[in-house]
């Protein structure tokens, strides 16, 4: 039971990070490796402010931290013309030091004796159980972020971001500064990811410098799992599929650990394999279709002999 509810809580919380990855990976069409750094950046900022007694400010700090990290990657990509993947790696790598600096040189921070947004809510609604409050806060955060994103992507700027991922030349021809649009999109994407990191720090009352390791693959796996259910359709459905993907991913992980199929340290490998298989499906399908045509063609020419 705890596992069921716990997975649901984590699924919702991490879905905010998955939304961020959906923006960069699917909408902007850039694989952004800043993720691992920006997630931890949000986590660090949030934990330090929470430890100082400002959990809400901590979440705001996480948002700003993520937006900054995204802007830096955007700047490297557009103004300095560095390959998008490399730009992300550079920012991520640099952030490792910055995150340690933010956390005061310590590799972890504990918040067990501090108020978090979760304990604050529990004080306001004392009749609710601890788990119910955690779930409620997680769902509320996801709903707010999703609604804001959906509205934002209906504005002119949002439309420019979607078009930039599709045909940047056409956006330039519409007198829109593509570089600025990319930077804004990466800032928003990483703000979501860092906000998620900030929530996670307060959720587990603990922040660790290595929390972000492998998070990109988790996000990609969630996006892909969600798309397996919903396919590529409108933007709103895309966001919902990202959220569902994140929850399903958590249940797959829970199931795998519960059933003792493999030790917990194998999870990253499993995630990587899920993503690889999902990304390989189109290529394998084409190959199979071509092989079938080839076999048919051979058989027919044999028959004509």
């Amino acid at each position: 039971m705890t596992l069921l509810i716990g997975s649901l809580q984590l699924g919702f919380l991490y879905s905010i990070m998955v939304l961020g990855i959906y923006i960069s990976f699917r909408i902007l069409n850039i694989p952004d490796l800043t993720t691992e750094g920006s997630f931890t950046f949000g986590l660090a900022a949030s934990s330090i402010l929470t430890a100082a007694g400002h959990p809400l400010l901590g979440l705001v700090g996480a948002l700003i931290a993520g937006a900054l990290a995204g802007s830096v990657t955007g700047f490297l990509q557009t103004k300095l013309d560095i390959h998008p993947v490399l730009a992300g790696i550079l920012t991520m790598s640099g952030l490792y030091s910055i995150n340690l600096f933010v956390m005061g040189g310590a590799s972890n921070v504990t918040l067990l004796n501090n108020d978090t947004v979760f304990t604050l809510f529990l004080k306001v609604f004392p009749f609710m159980s601890k788990d119910a409050v955690k779930l409620f806060v997680a769902i509320a955060a996801v709903v707010i972020v999703t609604v804001l994103l959906t509205v934002f992507f209906k504005t002119s700027l949002g439309l420019s971001i979607r078009a930039t991922g599709d045909n940047a030349d056409m956006v330039r021809a519409s007198s829109i500064n593509v570089d600025a649009v990319k930077m804004i999109a990466l800032a928003i994407s990483n703000a979501c990811i860092a906000f998620c990191g900030g929530l996670i720090a307060q959720y587990q009352s603990f922040a660790d410098i290595n929390s972000g390791v492998g998070i990109l693959v988790v996000g990609l796996a969630s996006v892909i799992i969600g798309e397996a259910f919903f396919g590529h359709r409108s933007l709103m459905i895309g966001f919902i599929s990202a959220i569902v993907g994140s929850i399903v991913y958590r249940y797959i992980i829970a199931l795998a650990t519960k059933s003792d199929m493999f030790p917990a340290y194998m999870l990253k490998l499993i995630s990587a394999i899920i993503v690889t298989v999902a990304l390989a499906v189109p290529a394998i399908k084409t190959k199979m279709a071509n092989d079938k045509l080839k076999r048919q063609g051979m058989r027919e020419s044999d028959g004509g002999r």
Partner: protein, 264 residues
């Protein structure tokens, strides 16, 4: 309206591949003038368009549009007053966005405010009216992704996109060359309508000499990055395709003779 003064551009300078794409080219267009451009491959036609649009900066010379020197403006700022169509219908539209979203993006040149809703009801009605006159049934498919349209349909939408906010200059880079003859004719007719109705200053690249002489009001021919003929008014009225070909070979022969003298 448009003035290109003494424009020069050399690519891959200082390498064995050095290529003089524009060679002290001068061109001046009056407001509402519709000029067709002829020239063989590599003559500098597209390079001229790229120079006007700001894909690169000129080595020498300047571009003046509507009295304003735009030689050093970045591409996206120039495109506020320049509409451009390419030969490839895929280039001008975003395939995963719907027709109305594409039009809205082009229309956003006109509307200030990044956080305004991209498509209002009023916009939608306006787009619908604009599409209706093309008589292609596009007005009923406004929520269709552009990627599902045919090349001709995409080119018509691109044409509408580049003129939805009246540009000061319209550049057509063989925009009907990739279409089948019937569709090409239709797109050309629509182009003519729009250009005349809005009195747009237009440059059109074409490889069809007949079309070059019958469309618009003036024809220029480019060779090795410079204008070799500028045919207008009376002269153009009586010009036939064979006259043009004669003129071209005459000119080429002259050059050839000059080369021979030099080599001797």
């Amino acid at each position: 309206m448009l003035e290109v003064i003494n424009a020069s551009k050399t690519f891959a300078k200082g390498t064995p591949n050095e290529h003089k794409a524009l060679d002290h080219l001068n061109l001046s267009l009056k407001e509402g003038e519709f000029v067709t451009i002829l020239g063989s491959n590599g003559a500098g036609k597209s390079t001229l368009f790229n120079a006007i649009c700001g894909n690169f900066l000129l080595d020498e010379g300047s571009v003046i549009l509507d009295g304003k020197n735009i030689s050093y403006l970045p591409e996206h700022q120039r495109s506020a007053s320049i509409g451009r169509l390419f030969q490839d219908p895929m280039k001008g539209t975003a395939p995963n966005l719907t027709i109305e979203e594409n039009l809205a993006l082009a229309y956003s040149k006109n509307t200030k405010g990044l956080f305004r809703f991209a498509i209002t009801k009023k916009d939608r009605e306006m787009f619908c009216e604009a599409l209706k006159r093309f008589d292609m049934g596009l007005e009923d498919r406004m929520a269709t992704k552009i990627g599902l349209l045919s090349g001709g349909q995409r080119q018509v939408v691109t044409l509408l996109m580049s003129t939805i906010v009246t540009p000061k200059l319209l550049l057509l880079d063989e925009h009907t060359a990739a279409l089948d003859p019937a569709t090409a004719e239709k797109v050309m007719a629509i182009t003519n309508d729009i250009v005349h109705e809005r009195n747009l200053t237009t440059l059109m690249i074409t490889h069809n000499m007949g079309q070059a002489l019958t469309t618009g009001s003036r024809t220029i021919m480019l060779d090795s990055g410079a204008i070799i003929f500028d045919i207008k008014e009376e002269e153009r009225k009586h010009m036939t395709v064979s006259d043009l070909l004669d003129m071209y070979s005459e000119k080429k022969k002259e050059e050839f003779d000059n080369d021979r003298i030099l080599l001797n």
